[in-house]
Symmetry: C2
Subunit: 519 residues, 2 copies
């Protein structure tokens, strides 16, 4: 059931028009230009998508949970119906293997259905009720009820490295739609075809389940389009996954608006991994194998790639021997696009030339793994070594583990921090764990940071610059809260309240009533 790709933006229920073609997908393996041409959204098309989103905001916010859940489930079904088309187009645009594209489609549909379930169950709105006490002295207590409500239209920027799960129909879109916010997606130049296929799925699902037209638009365009989108008064929040420079640029635009808005940018992280002496002695080679596996997964193109490893000063020989062998024998692979490949090559070169850095191994070819080592002291003296190297390279810092708390205090914010230790070592080194905790969104014990489970307890976030807003997560059910604010109703008649706050609890959700959790 392949449809022809049209190359035009999706503006509500219609399509944009053809203009001067300036965008097209490129096969990163061959450098070939891919058909069709993609037409940047014209100013009037951006304006139309904003106008439609503005009109859709209240009716979409007020859809019943059941209806909004059916919309999210319908998107998942449409993506499943398009999975062969995605699996054909994806590898051409991204260099990612077909199996990865199919796996990511599964994850994307899983996320959409998770949010559908969350919305349908309904308790996520955190409904609270405090009954009136009319005869309280000196003043009567009013009846107060509150719940989370959607913020309004959200701009979502697609990520280069997750053409499905963090792109058009990815986590930001799914969580914003779940919250009840219309979404305008800006496609990533790297995979416009996948954006169009996913966008068509959302458009069809919105029509089939009776959503207001402006609930979703997808725009093709360059950086100026992204800037105009974030500047638009209609937009009330921004979701972004990408580089630190891209994310901080959006933060600046959002903060400079007459009405500043929240930006949820997931940016850069080097995901420190600490290995303590006992566990290193026990299974140094196994740990080297585990690290290598995490390092080269997806050609290192994951936000949670382990780019920094802390080892003790002694007992590191077997580990170094093994990781050096693995990296030396490692093969390169096509990276997501020419820009990513050359940026990786450049950063590897910079690292290898940095003061105090020894190159332990560096395989040949595009996207080839690389491994470096440095002393604690030299690492501390060069803050630039904390810059992300997007790809399969890691820097191993060796030195006394007693110094780690002081070192961690100077680490930038990270998505994850991993500690390998025996249980006895873990208990004996609480200060190391505790200082690491202050710098990360997720702590991992005896594992590796790649692999981000989509579930209620996941935090895929972390202190700046890992994300723009360390209070939030872009993966898991908590992601929905990013696009909401709490509103309070005082002394309203029951019939004028949202169903979630009505006395009889018609939606049968968990609530906090008079400061007591209902069951």
């Amino acid at each position: 059931m392949t449809n022809t790709l049209q190359g035009t933006s999706i503006i509500g229920f219609s399509r944009g028009s053809e203009t001067t073609a300036t965008l097209h997908g490129v096969n990163p393996a061959t450098g070939e230009t891919l058909e069709p041409h993609y037409y940047p959204a014209r100013k009037e098309e951006l304006a139309k998508s904003l106008e439609l989103a503005s009109k859709a905001a209240t009716p979409f916010a007020d859809t019943t949970p059941k209806k909004r859940a059916s919309f999210l489930n319908a998107i998942a079904t449409e993506i499943e119906n398009s999975v062969d088309e995605l699996a054909t187009r994806g590898p051409l645009e991204t260099g990612l293997p077909e199996a990865r594209i199919r796996g990511e489609a599964g994850r994307t549909c899983g996320q959409l259905r998770m949010f559908a379930q969350l919305v349908e169950e309904g308790s996520w709105v955190n409904a609270r009720i405090d009954h009136a006490i009319p005869d309280r002295t000196p003043l009567p207590k009013p009846d107060l009820r509150c719940m989370l409500r959607p913020l309004g239209p959200v701009a979502v920027f697609c990520a280069s490295n997750f053409p499905l799960a963090f792109s058009t129909a990815g986590g930001d879109t799914a969580s914003a739609l779940a919250a009840g916010c219309p979404v305008i997606v800006k496609a990533h130049r790297s995979h416009p075809g996948m954006a169009e296929i996913a966008g068509r799925c959302i458009q069809k699902a919105a029509q089939d389940t009776g959503m207001p037209e402006g609930t979703f638009s997808l725009l093709f365009g360059a950086q100026d389009l992204g800037q105009a989108l974030v500047e638009a008064p209609v937009i009330q929040a921004v979701g972004f996954t990408g580089s630190q420079s891209g994310g901080t640029a959006l933060m600046k635009i959002a903060a400079a608006r007459p009405q500043p808005i929240p930006v949820y940018a997931e940016m850069s992280s080097i995901n420190p991994v600490v290995i303590l002496p006992e566990v290193l002695a026990e299974k140094g080679e196994t740990l080297a194998e585990g690290l290598f596996g995490s390092l080269v997964l997806g050609v290192g193109q994951f936000c949670t790639n382990p780019g920094l490893v802390f080892l003790p000063e002694n007992g590191t020989e077997l580990f170094f021997k093994k990781i050096t062998e693995l990296v030396s024998d490692g093969a390169g692979a096509t990276m997501l696009n020419a820009g990513t490949a050359s940026a990786y090559q450049e950063r590897v070169k910079e690292l290898s030339e940095s003061n105090g850095v020894t190159t332990l191994a560096l395989a040949d070819g595009e996207g080839a793994p690389a491994i470096f080592s440095i002393s604690q002291e030299a690492f501390t003296n060069d803050a630039s070594l904390q810059e992300e190297c997007f790809g399969p390279a890691t820097l191993i810092v060796t030195g006394p583990i007693e110094n780690l708390p002081a070192l961690f205090a100077k680490l930038e914010g990270q998505l994850t921090g991993t500690i390998h230790a025996t249980e006895a070592e873990l208990s004996a080194n609480t200060t190391i764990v505790r200082t690491l905790q202050n710098r990360v969104g997720r702590l991992i014990f005896n594992g590796f940071p790649t692999g981000v489970e989509v579930c209620p307890s996941m935090v895929h976030g972390g202190p700046y610059p890992a994300t723009s807003d360390g209070r939030s997560t872009s993966v898991g059910t908590l992601a929905v809260e990013r696009f909401t604010r709490t509103i309070s109703w005082q002394d309203f008649p029951d019939s004028a309240l949202p169903a979630e706050l009505q006395e009889a609890n018609p939606l049968n959700i968990k609530r906090i009533v008079n400061n007591t959790h209902t069951s």
Copy 2:
């Protein structure tokens, strides 16, 4: 049990030193300078308070809920022990009557005890557990657990209009301490003596309950001190209640830091009140009396003061007659300080000279009530009429109620929106209510906006510029969440987890386990 006021900052468990005195309280009723002199914190004193807060951050974050609750309760007890001193000093510094100061002390202690109870009960941390599924295919599911954790040291700015409840030991301080964040307060120049008394209470409570020294500091100083505080890398969030210019200045400083931090500024709101025709016909005079009472409460110096009223075009005679009488007969009163009094006078003059504005009544004297009217059209044409007039003045906009949704779409964000209607009118005018909802943090039916109940369902917040961050509230238990972020633990042994996340649930809190609420 009056102690002598010293005029020096409180730096952890010690006091600052005397410098060149440049600050002092002023009695707004007489213009008299009040003893003692207040000494601006020196650079080294600011640095010391920051260093102490940084050192205290982890041990204070890791205090048990019981211990942190005992600290908050001890602050309340100390304030109660100092209430006579506060009630003597307060009226001198603020012009507020003694009864108000005593009432506000009660509210302040109530807030502290509410947060103590919240912390001791413990479920507020939103603990979630997802158990491992080791045999899941294709990949095992890890064990994941998450909960809210404190952000780190918080800077709190005292408000002029609530010398206790939104100042040194007020809502921002109480909620930040409840979250587990050390607090550095910048005193307001208007009531340094009350700041010192409250600060001494917190200092003593911290010592008596064994908190780390840097848990609390109180600094006296001018604007440059506030700027230096927000710029300090140690500070991780800001709480502020005050003017829009003050709040936006702090937002800019926070956004320009190498690590941007959240600012929770509660700034300006004119709190629209809508009166629909039927209810106006039924009880126009009573409504005029209610509005007048809300308008002049506390000399109009409340964030929720009703500064804007929408009336239908007809049937307004009795209402206008009554409100005009009441305002004409109304007396002025001493305002908080000379700056507030002259700013109010100036803004009243501006309003009276604005295009299309009719002055209905304007009483004589400082802080005297004022009432103006204008047509919908003239109101729409002059955005400056939405600027807050801090004091007992209100602007009544008359015109067809059919136009209200379009008018509300152009309203700036507000803390509150009030609708007076019969129940039949409310049902018949859902679009008016719904568009108002989009602009406010709290909707009130048949009441008035002043009087902010402190309870779990309260939202004292609202879209920009009512606050800097419309997702949050500065009153009620939800305020604690502003100073937290969620952290996730993956595959940690039970003994290395925080008590809140341990399998046996030793604190007996409500949790979400495997996506199911526990009871």
